[in-house]
């Protein structure tokens, strides 16, 4: 910016041009003049649903450079009409909160510390545990001789916060494995 522009951009001089009290336009900075909402720079907007209670408010998720920059209500929803409660409004804060965990943690039997563990290895170990426990505790029949085809030593808990598709795979896989103790928050 040349000296002249610098001088001309001096609000005191702008005051002479119709804003003697310097309360309005004269005091407006360049940043303020060119300000725009950050959602205007979003690469794309994902249409989502609030993950908290069961009202089912619709959310608009603004994404820029692979990061969520804003989550707010979707006005199109006949249920929520674009509104959110404090929990729904805090969705971004929950999604990217400082306490969010991103790494697998492992605690060996009688261990006193968390240890690191690669995801693949963790999956392998979990498969081992499931199959071992299942083999050790398989009931083909009940003591009375009724068909059982199950293991009563493994239980799966959770589902009310998950997607239908996820619940479907849980029930399908557990049933095929003979795991009958599949439960969720419906009892809570």
């Amino acid at each position: 910016m040349g000296f002249l522009e610098l001088v001309r951009s001096w609000p005191v001089l702008k005051q002479l041009d119709g804003d003697p009290l310097g309360l309005g336009k004269a005091a407006q900075s360049e940043r303020s003049r060119t300000l725009r909402p950050r959602v205007a720079d979003a690469d794309h907007v994902a249409r989502s649903i609030c993950p908290f209670c069961a009202v089912g408010c619709a959310q608009l998720v603004y994404v820029e450079d692979g990061q969520v920059t804003q989550v707010e209500g979707d006005p199109a929803s006949p249920i929520s009409r674009g509104r959110l409660c404090p929990k729904g409004a805090a969705t971004k804060n929950m999604h990217a909160g400082p306490l969010r965990e991103y790494k697998v943690k492992y605690r060996r039997p009688y261990g006193t510390e968390w240890e690191e563990l690669p995801l693949e290895q963790a999956m392998d170990m979990i498969v081992d545990r499931i199959l071992r426990t299942r083999d050790e505790t398989w009931e083909d029949e009940t003591p009375e001789g009724n068909p059982a085809r199950r293991t009563m030593a493994i239980a799966n808990l959770g589902g009310a916060t998950l997607d239908n598709e996820e619940n479907y795979l849980i029930k399908k896989l557990c049933t095929a494995l003979g795991i009958v103790q599949v439960e969720n928050q419906a009892r809570i």
Partner: protein, 321 residues
């Protein structure tokens, strides 16, 4: 052109200083008769404006743990528990009649506690006054009247002089991350390069969203539309109609607060429907913009200056020793 010294209901520097660029004046109408105290406004505001979390202090003041507006709370929901009826309702005739039929003898006291109980909730916010003390006194022009008639602190200009803080009749503005009271501030000279933010912050009525044609975050989130955003003229009409309805329904203490262009700040840009005296919600009953007294104050100051001159001059009478 109006000066801020005479309340006329029209802000100084708006719309005239913007010419073509001027937009209709917008604001909030916060109808506390339908506020459910959910605090969505507080969170939505923080999410949009990227305001820091500011402390986890349990106050025991009903469900209010935010306590006041400040640099890090641009919306504040007040909770007031009262032993008063919400409505001055008439008894229900059929019920008594039925009571006779069903043969209910010896009616017993309702609850051991008090039957009439109400829980007032109200979301407070910067009033975006027609005549704004903060705006008038800001020495840097960081505070300015936008093309929407709102009052905004420009974070790229504010140097944290703090003059606006005690000048706001509502205690809205505050300095971020500076010692709250002078008592515990060090007398360090000079304090260049201190880590704190040091600037003053308050509700911008989502200036950036307005420029993008979006409604402010709090109003958009509000589940019951207790916070309504619109052109101020429209809101004032709506508020009058609302008050009328509540009067018919015999709501206890319903009143508008800040819609009167004749009040001490020339009317609020963000005004309220309250169900009790303003001070019950922590609001001043008769706010007046300090600069309303400024012309007289300037005269006093000039006279005092002259007095000082005269006084010292008088001291020169009577020799050098």
């Amino acid at each position: 052109m109006t000066t801020p010294m005479q309340p006329t209901g029209a802000p100084a520097a708006w719309p005239d200083t913007y010419g073509e660029d001027a937009k209709p004046r917008v604001g909030f109408f916060t109808d506390t008769s339908i506020c459910i105290g959910c605090k969505a406004c507080e969170v939505a505001c923080k999410e949009w404006n990227l305001i820091p979390e500011d402390g986890r202090v349990w106050t025991g003041e009903s469900y209010d743990n935010t306590s006041a507006l400040g640099a890090n709370s641009w919306r504040h929901v007040a909770f007031v528990e009262q032993r008063k009826p919400l409505r001055l309702a008439e008894p229900f005739p059929e019920a008594d009649a039925r009571a006779g039929e069903a043969g209910s003898a010896g009616a017993q006291p309702a609850e051991v506690g008090v039957a009439d109980l109400r829980w007032l909730m109200a979301s407070d916010v910067c009033k975006h006054c027609t005549h704004a003390g903060c705006l008038d006194v800001c020495p840097t022009g960081a505070l300015f009247r936008t093309e929407f008639g709102t009052v905004v602190v420009q974070e790229d200009v504010c140097n944290g002089c703090g003059y606006c803080v005690p000048t706001c009749p509502f205690g809205v503005l505050d300095k971020r991350d500076l010692a709250r009271s002078p008592d515990d501030a060090p007398l360090a000279l000079p304090l260049f390069g201190k880590k704190e933010d040091g600037r003053v912050w308050k509700c911008t009525l989502c200036y950036d969203r307005l420029k993008g044609g979006l409604e402010p975050a709090c109003a958009k989130a509000c589940p019951t539309d207790s916070i309504q955003f619109d052109e101020l003229d429209e809101l004032r009409k709506r508020a009058e109609r609302r008050l009328e309805k509540l009067r018919v329904e015999r709501w206890n203490g319903a009143r508008l607060y800040g819609q009167d262009a004749g009040d001490g700040v020339g009317g609020f840009g963000a005004f309220f429907l309250l169900l009790d005296e303003p001070e019950v919600y922590g609001l001043p009953p008769d706010p007046v913009v300090p600069t309303a007294h400024l012309p007289k104050l300037w005269r006093t100051t000039a006279l005092a200056a002259a007095g000082l001159l005269a006084g010292i001059a008088a001291a020169f009478v009577g020799g050098r020793e």
